[in-house]
Symmetry: C2
Subunit: 339 residues, 2 copies
Amino acid sequence: MSNPVLVEVLRGGLIESRHRGAVAVVDADGATVFAVGDVAKRVFPRSAVKPLQALPLVESGAAERYALGDEELALACASHSGEPAHVEVVLRMLSKAGLDASALACGTHWPSSQAAAFALARAGGSPSALHNNCSGKHAGFLCVACAIGVDHPGYWRPEHAVQRGVRAVLEDLTGVALSDDCRAVDGCSVPTWAIPLANLARAFARFGSGHGLERERARAAALLRTACARKPWHVAGTGRFCTEIMRLLGPRALVKTGAEGVFCAALPQPGLGIAVKCDDGAGRAAEAITAALIARLLPLEDADRTILASFARPILRNWNGIEVGSLEVSEAIAAASLR
Amino acid sequence: MSNPVLVEVLRGGLIESRHRGAVAVVDADGATVFAVGDVAKRVFPRSAVKPLQALPLVESGAAERYALGDEELALACASHSGEPAHVEVVLRMLSKAGLDASALACGTHWPSSQAAAFALARAGGSPSALHNNCSGKHAGFLCVACAIGVDHPGYWRPEHAVQRGVRAVLEDLTGVALSDDCRAVDGCSVPTWAIPLANLARAFARFGSGHGLERERARAAALLRTACARKPWHVAGTGRFCTEIMRLLGPRALVKTGAEGVFCAALPQPGLGIAVKCDDGAGRAAEAITAALIARLLPLEDADRTILASFARPILRNWNGIEVGSLEVSEAIAAASLR
């Protein structure tokens, strides 16, 4: 069974490329509100579950012990662009736990922000693990290890207490047992667990509403949501989709990108979770689908709706700025609506 | 009708993403040797037809008049990485026609070579149109305009003599009439024409063998093929797929990438042309498919076959260098073979 085409890429009025995928919109009880494609299939959520992976940071008491504020909590949920202020916050988190950048095991890459990368190069610098888009999450893991009093080296391994805690949280929110045969290694070396798309959506419905969670877990989720809503720049970066959508919608939506065409979102007000997976791993399509879904599922004023629509139908321009095409979300997504 | 899955992206033994597409392998008479998916569908070849777009550079007499050597002819066929020696050759081409970088209408972007981009930034530089991956093709167009004595400004417009010449060449090689309703604007602003995949493959079979072409056109194709075989670095750049494959195979294969998951190749010896289009625009999949097809269609020694196999099954590593997965070309491609 093949998933339907969810996004068409047009050039000069003709279809140049097409992206298939699946979408699940689920409430906190696990009831499916809207589904397209195979939502029972397990997908690797990759970075899309960083907000869930950050729950132990609050629940363990580490956030309180190290007095982590909104910026730090947002960074723990982030796939950041490696801009200077991102790096500063990560360093601050590490420093509060008595560590430095040498403790990070996420690996090194240049800032994904082109401006930040070239500024670093111009200054004669080179990237470190701090610039890795996952360094905030890793700093959070390290804070947990220090707060609960376990050795921090190896914090990224599946058998380490930190990752066992993350696994338990994911099992609770998704309602899925995560066995070793659905575990793989993420880009930053921590485990990534293949989870059915509908259960990922359910996890975000619970994360967004607190419904079905124990009191402490619901409180931790609310704290992380609030941090991301207040500091959306720290969750991604300048000009990035997640940042712009959360800047627009504030506490009305938490959206988080993952590699290989995954997007997750929590809509606290209607109490819904969204999970998107493009079969081919295309982030451009997952973004457009997510924007289109939010526009269908949230009550919005016209101005907000217009801005969301521009994210749901990105215009493609060439190197001379000439409009050459667009991404068009399919009718299958247009059918999404609140019951 | 949906095209079949041609490449699976594995992570930890599970399928994370999948790429659908179509493949045509055609001889110079237009007979299909191997086909998967819808090969009658029109696709935008984008940069994959640069070697064909360069034919007027030779046929017009411009290459001879300006004494263009292998490096310059290879650059005219290139999607180059913007490395310093690429830029030098483009400047030399322009200079021979009495022009400079200001004549280029391809637009500006940073070198696609990360090393070249950061070196440029470290030196306090910023990119120009010379660094655009299409600047060699554009320099070739400008040489044609000057050689045939037409005004060069606007050389990128469909109605300009240069682009009318390119269109006629494409119609001859593909055997397809190119009407305005299948024209769009490419990333560098020149026209790109939607052409059935099988006809693109036929064009490369003719380009590679000379079969079915007028004498002068066949001679021009041979000159360009030889230039690319001798100077494969100039067709792409350091570490790039096209460069490495042509360095390995020399005159036995001309391979050329295009944006949005297109790949074309000419295999002069069996007299075949290959055209690949991934539905979703994925270049990673198009590369693996192309390598797998060449390995099936060319007689190869074991050492060459082993190297090709590594391009047909790329290993995915994360930021710590840990092997996290691989790309696997499907059985559908394994069926390709010479009759």
